[in-house]
Amino acid sequence: MLRFTLRRIFQIIPTVVVVALLIFVIFSVVPGTFAASLFADGKRAADPQMIARLNEEFGLNKPLIERFTTYVTDLAQFDLGTSFRTRQPVIDLINDRMWASLQLAIAAMVFALVVGVPLGFLAALRPGSVLDTVTMIGAVSGLSMPQFWLGLLMMYLFALQLNWLPSFGYGDGSFRNLILPAVTLGVTPLALLARTTRAGVLDVLNADFIRTAHSKGMSEAKVVRWHVARNVLVLIVTTVGLQFGSLIGQAVVIEKLFAWPGIGSLLVDSVAIRDIPVVQGTILVIVLWFLVINTAVDLIYAAIDPRIKQE
């Protein structure tokens, strides 16, 4: 298990390196320099002096290869560069906002798991029932809905009309502030989890070893507890891992909608003003998070399914 763990952890490194390169390339091929667009607002051209100063300060006039070397050596020392606008180190900006984002992402996933998995389970145990039909219609609707729209409607209903919850903001990290954004963000993974859980349970129930379990004289409840649950867990863990990617992506929109001070809203604001070092750094950190989560999922997977380690 230790060797497997180490191997999976080391597998992250090449991917991170390639992603870092990809990000550098994407932001280097653009026509025109960023400094120009940074100061250009609308139709008024930017002050050439300011552009020159910024280019000087950030070394944007240097040849590509030199910029690349600086980028790589800085990265190796965990230096993500300096913001064009605030002149603060990007890593500090990200650190300030990381916790809020993690809080939101984890809360959303927990909500999705706690509601989605039992729904999928119950639906599969009573296929064709009212609960099953409602769950499946709900799932396909949840997957087709723009999350920020749902968030907007919930904000209207629960915050503005009923006054039960605050409509936006972090509110010093109070739980009440977390509810609306987390539920909104959790809807898509919830729908997907309900769907995969249902399909997975139906699949397992048809497996030969379930017939063996019945032949032992086990009650339905024990069959589900002893033999179905664990096997479906493998599927759920995989789905959670895959869903984290789109959850992180969606979080950007939801953070913006609820004015949640996470790295997602930092990214959107930086894209809007083309603060490239911040954009690059944020994306890199997000990818790193996603990879870490996926590796963790793989490790959990291996802990549940003994067949994985044997490759």
């Binding site: 019945h214 032949s215 004289g217 493998v234």
Partner: protein
């Protein structure tokens, strides 16, 4: 004469197609198994052997349903037994081994734990005790290093070992009846012989009756005292094993025997072709009770 352990009377079973319509698969199947006796059911795929055994276990799945007859186990009709009572019998008094040792065990659970479940379910043991008993049970089916093997997952074992695990599991609670549904079909020939001998010896030693299901008369002959031949949902012939081999009465049985290679037969009877039966399963919906064997088999065209 002692009372039969299992007494199946006029069992009728089929696919429910609507409220009252059904498509029959078993027609008035009747046979008895005495305590400690090994009884073989032989027949081709689809002849109804497996669903007979599933009916005894009460494990028929939805479109399949029993339409008539009785299954008496120690004089008690299993078909009218409440679910809870049936569960108590299943695994405990009547146990079953399946054909596919590859998929019949849960891949995510150690074999020790899967055997231990039997003791927890039927003997109210704690998990700790049960695991110890499981190791013992593995030893009884002659698995080498049982204490180490108990911690293995099914994928770490060969087919033969897995089938031994199934046997250990089935015999864990010393059942009165063991149903073995083609337990050796998926195994290598050499392993087959070992597993067969194991079943035979263990059941003989414990006085467990066996309902052995196979399409292979040779396998049945090596283990069973009596044989029933099934064809198209009917029990067409039943006899002592030796008598059946020497004097097959039914055309289909003769066909089955003709398809069996025999050691030394060439020196006795000269070079002979093995006789084959039409491999197509008869379309049961077109068969009438009276002529179901007539259109096929080795006897076709003979007076």
């Amino acid at each position: 004469m002692t009372a039969p352990l299992l007494d199946i009377r006029n069992l009728r079973l089929g696919v429910a197609l609507g409220r009252s319509v059904h498509h029959p698969l078993l027609k008035d199947v009747t046979f008895q198994i005495m305590p400690g006796e090994a009884y073989g059911l032989v027949g081709e795929s689809g002849s109804g052997k497996s669903i007979t055994s599933l009916a005894v276990m009460g494990l028929l799945k939805k479109p399949l349903a029993v339409f008539g007859g009785e299954i008496l186990f120690k004089g008690q009709n299993l078909l009218s037994l409440p679910k809870r009572e049936m569960r108590r019998l299943r695994g405990n008094r009547i146990a079953m081994i399946f054909q596919e040792p590859m998929t019949a065990l849960n891949p995510l659970s150690t074999v020790g734990r899967q055997i231990a479940e039997m003791f927890v379910l039927h003997q109210g043991k704690s998990w700790g005790e049960a695991e110890k008993l499981a190791v013992e049970a593995l030893g009884n089916v002659r698995v080498p290093n049982p204490d180490r093997r108990a911690k293995n997952y099914p994928h770490q074992m060969s087919g033969g070992l897995r089938q031994r695990v199934m046997i250990a599991m089935a015999l864990a609670c010393n059942p009165d009846l063991l149903i073995a549904d083609e337990p050796t079909t998926a195994l290598d020939v050499t392993v087959q012989a070992e597993v067969l001998r194991l079943i035979k010896e263990l059941c003989a030693a414990r006085g467990t009756a066996v309902l052995f299901i196979s399409h292979d008369l040779g396998v049945i002959a090596s283990i069973c005292q009596r044989v029933g031949v099934m064809y198209a949902g009917c029990l067409v012939e039943e006899n002592e094993t030796r008598a059946l081999f020497e004097n097959p009465r039914h055309a289909y049985t003769r066909g089955l025997l003709g398809a069996l290679p025999r050691l030394g037969s060439r020196s006795a009877h000269g070079r002979q072709r093995l006789v084959d039966i039409d491999s197509i399963i008869a379309d049961r919906s077109k068969l009438t009770e009276t002529r179901f064997i007539a259109p096929r088999g080795a006897e076709r065209g003979q007076p």
